[in-house]
């Protein structure tokens, strides 16, 4: 897929990848051999009919292609951009074994953008409204799919979101240069079209309890994500300008600190920035720091390049833009100046040992230390499941890592309460979360059909 040059793109927050034009899309679609058993579909957690939409592209029937895609993913302009296709649909593509899989994500993005440019809308079928009401907690990918699936079936759906914008990680985490917020807003408008009520500024567990919601709604879906940052637990971690990735990215993306002072939220623009971690969040933070004007950005990772959990594509993007990687190091502390501003990261050099539970070689301390001078640090070592609902609703069972325990359809230990997405799996992906939303929607639809006879007593306030 065509991209803007590194020299150009690091000066702004505009999108890096440019997307296919019609000709490129048709050419790529023509490579598809239309396998009868369509192995790619089984790699897609929301089951998009991939060969069908690709065939329409080849026939230049872009609008039809869009309709097919939209049946599977209600937010194709987003999934086409952020899905790790190499681990999903494209992994199973027959052509992958022969060399180059079909660029399914790029094609999905193409049809979504094509439809948007032309103002193509999927007509909403007239559906009989049902009397059952369902509540969704959290407006990230899991909540979006759950809500749209049930709204399409005629349910009365309300989404409760704590922040001032809907979208979850799509709006507060993933940066503008990978996923423009205008696109997120346009995709979410579809929820309004379906008649879904989105209530912002409501923290379930604080503003209203699960028990109270159960009095008003027939079923509840918890999709609160894994947004609670993990700390390093080393001396000096609270010095000034040591950010968690979530704080850094929230300031930049949701609060638009890169447009300060037009927007009121500030961010410290570092000259020498260290980012700790090797995942996608680390890549996003490093690349955002560069765009805020950093001269040097270091990604510090305790294993080697081979074990980095970030997508290859994002590592390459970061590297092209000038991000430097230091492997086999683990922070053991931070030093600061007299104002409490961070000045140094102290590092333990590591070596690779035997594989651990994750199957990757375990990093072991060598005893040798080093340090680098910095003025901003971003901790991107990971997240815990959001603790607010488990803390305030002990009836909902969680495991020893704070994840809500569910059966294979998303039912929790509490009747009429379902959960899915990162709150269930820990740190997953957008499309996995969406898959959970779909499964749970089906389960709710089934369960309510049975329970209707028993008539759950709820009242509308």
């Amino acid at each position: 897929m065509p991209k803007r040059s590194p020299e150009e793109r690091i000066r702004d927050f505009n999108e890096v990848a440019l997307g296919y034009d019609e000709q490129m899309a048709v050419k790529e679609a023509s490579r598809c051999i239309q396998c009868p058993e369509a192995p790619c579909i089984k790699g897609c957690p929301v089951g998009i009919n991939i060969p069908k939409f690709i065939k329409f592209i080849r026939e230049r029937k872009f609008e039809e292609a869009y309709r097919v895609v939209k049946e599977g993913s209600p937010i194709p302009a987003i999934t086409g951009r952020v899905c790790p296709q190499e681990k999903q649909c494209e992994k199973y593509c027959t052509l992958a074994k022969l060399g180059q899989p079909i660029a399914i994500g790029a094609l999905e993005r193409f049809v979504a953008d094509w439809a948007k440019e032309r103002g193509v809308h999927v007509d909403l079928q007239q559906i009989d409204k049902r009397s059952e009401r369902v509540a969704v907690i959290g407006s990230g990918p899991a909540g979006i799919v759950f809500a749209t699936d049930l709204a399409k079936l005629g349910y009365d759906v309300t989404v409760f979101e704590a922040l001032h914008e809907a979208g979850g990680v799509l709006v507060y985490g993933i940066p503008e240069f990978r996923l423009p917020k205008k696109i997120v807003r346009e995709e979410l408008a579809y929820m309004k079209d379906l008649g879904i009520d989105i209530e912002l500024g409501i923290v379930v567990g604080k503003t209203v309890s699960i028990h109270e919601l159960l009095e008003e709604y027939h079923a509840i879906f918890i999709a609160t994500g894994a947004g609670h940052p993990r700390m390093l637990g080393v001396p000096g971690e609270n010095l000034n300008y040591i950010y968690t990735a979530n704080e850094f990215l929230t300031r930049v993306n949701l609060m638009k600190a890169y447009l300060f002072p037009e927007y009121d939220t500030p961010i410290h623009r570092g000259r020498r920035v260290a980012v700790i971690g090797g995942g996608n969040t680390a890549m996003d933070a490093a690349r955002a720091a560069l765009r805020l004007g950093a001269e040097e950005v270091y990604v510090l990772y305790r294993r080697t390049r081979e074990e980095m959990p970030a997508r290859r594509e994002e590592i390459d993007n970061a590297e092209e833009e000038g991000v430097k990687f230091i492997f086999l190091v683990q922070p053991i502390g931070f030093k600061g100046d007299s104002q409490g501003n961070v000045s140094d990261v102290l590092l333990m050099k590591m070596a690779l040992g035997e594989p651990d539970e994750s199957g990757r070689p375990r990093p072991i301390p060598t005893g040798e230390t080093t340090d680098i001078q910095v003025d901003v640090v971003i901790n991107a070592i990971g997240f815990h499941p959001n603790p607010v609902i488990p803390m305030t609703t002990p009836e909902i069972r969680t495991d020893n890592r704070g994840r809500i325990v569910v059966d294979s359809d998303g039912r929790t230990s509490m009747r009429r309460v379902y959960a899915g997405g990162d709150i269930v799996v820990g740190e997953g992906t957008v499309i996995e979360a969406m898959g959970w939303g779909r499964k749970a929607a089906l389960a709710v639809h089934k369960d309510l059909a049975i329970e209707k006879k028993l008539s759950i007593a709820v009242h509308k306030r």
């Binding site: 704590a162 922040l163 001032h164 912002l200 500024g201 409501i202 923290v203 604080k206 503003t207 209203v208 947004g227 609670h228 940052p229 700390m231 637990g233 971690e237 609270n238 000034n240 300008y241 950010y243 968690t244 979530n246 704080e247 929230t250 300031r251 609060m255 638009k256 300060f260 002072p261 037009e262 927007y263 009121d264 939220t265 500030p266 410290h268 104002q339 409490g340 959001n386 603790p387 607010v388």
Partner: protein, 282 residues
């Protein structure tokens, strides 16, 4: 929803605002706070709930106009709506029957002490309030505090009203004179709380401080509000905002509160210039 019902100037740059948010008023408890954005471009700022009425659906906020966002909040007129407000956040104050409770409130922290003093008094504690400000003109909420205290001691740094000195000096005097409170609860500027905490510790009295770190999310997602308490990192927004005062790393908190001084000043100057140029054009 989120409509400003009334607005009052309590002191230069200090405003009191009642906002119609029934969903928050319904469940608010002493010691909790909200996060407010006056407009789409504003910061998310934490403000303590000073009062509320669950039947009428309003909450009361008091704020010092100190940065662009708080100035913008102060410009909101009665009848206008705030862009966003979420809460109630944080854990409520533990209001037990201790016996004698000293409540210390400093500056714009005094209104935040009001619902706490009221709650402690309601359950039958003997409430002694110490409230202080730089100068008498900035001393706010004295009458309200008197309504909910058994005893009130007023201090001003310049002696323009009450005792000349800091609230911490008054606290030291009371403890020195033999008073043995069962609990000291404090809210105000971090340096004030640091001093009060040291005094409480010296006299062996349990002290609780309501912390006011920089926040962004207010619900445990960002870690902007990190404080070190008893050597451990805690998120003040959802594990606090109250902690045992003698366990708090006050120096770290004070430094963290100053983190964006430069940026805040820059933004404020720009905002004032913009306001001035609008005024000129009129």
């Amino acid at each position: 929803m989120n409509k400003v019902l009334s607005k009052k100037v309590l002191a230069p740059n200090v405003k009191e605002m009642d906002v119609y948010v029934p969903r928050i008023a319904r469940v608010a408890k002493p010691g909790q706070f909200v996060i407010v954005m006056p407009d789409e471009k504003g910061e998310r700022i934490p403000l303590t709930l000073v009062d509320w009425n669950s039947f009428e659906g309003w909450i009361r906020l008091v704020f010092l106009e100190i940065g662009v966002t708080t100035y913008k909040l102060g410009l909101k007129e009665v009848g206008e709506s705030l862009y966003y407000i979420v809460g109630p956040l944080g854990n409520p104050t533990y209001v037990g029957k201790f016996g004698t409770v000293i409540i210390v409130g400093g500056g714009v922290g005094i209104p935040a002490a009001y619902p706490i003093a009221r709650a402690f008094k309601e359950v039958g504690n003997y409430v002694i309030s110490i409230i202080g400000a730089r100068t008498s003109k900035l001393l706010i909420y004295e009458d309200r505090i008197r309504e909910v205290s058994n005893e009130v001691h007023v201090t001003t740094d310049d002696g323009s009203k009450g005792f000349k000195g800091f609230t911490s000096d008054m606290l030291a005097n009371l403890l020195e004179s033999g008073l043995k409170p069962d609990l000291i609860w404090m809210v105000g500027p971090a340096p004030m709380m640091k001093s009060c905490s040291a005094i409480a510790k010296k006299y062996g009295v349990k002290a609780v401080a309501s912390l006011n770190p920089i926040m962004v999310c207010g619900m445990g997602m960002c870690g902007a509000c990190r404080v070190t308490v008893a050597g451990r990192t805690r998120f003040a927004c959802f594990e606090g905002p109250e902690f045992d005062a003698d366990k708090v790393d006050w120096d770290e908190l004070i430094k963290r509160l100053n983190m964006y001084r430069k940026e805040e000043q820059e933004a404020l100057n720009r905002f004032r210039d913009a306001l001035a140029s609008i005024a000129m054009q009129r």
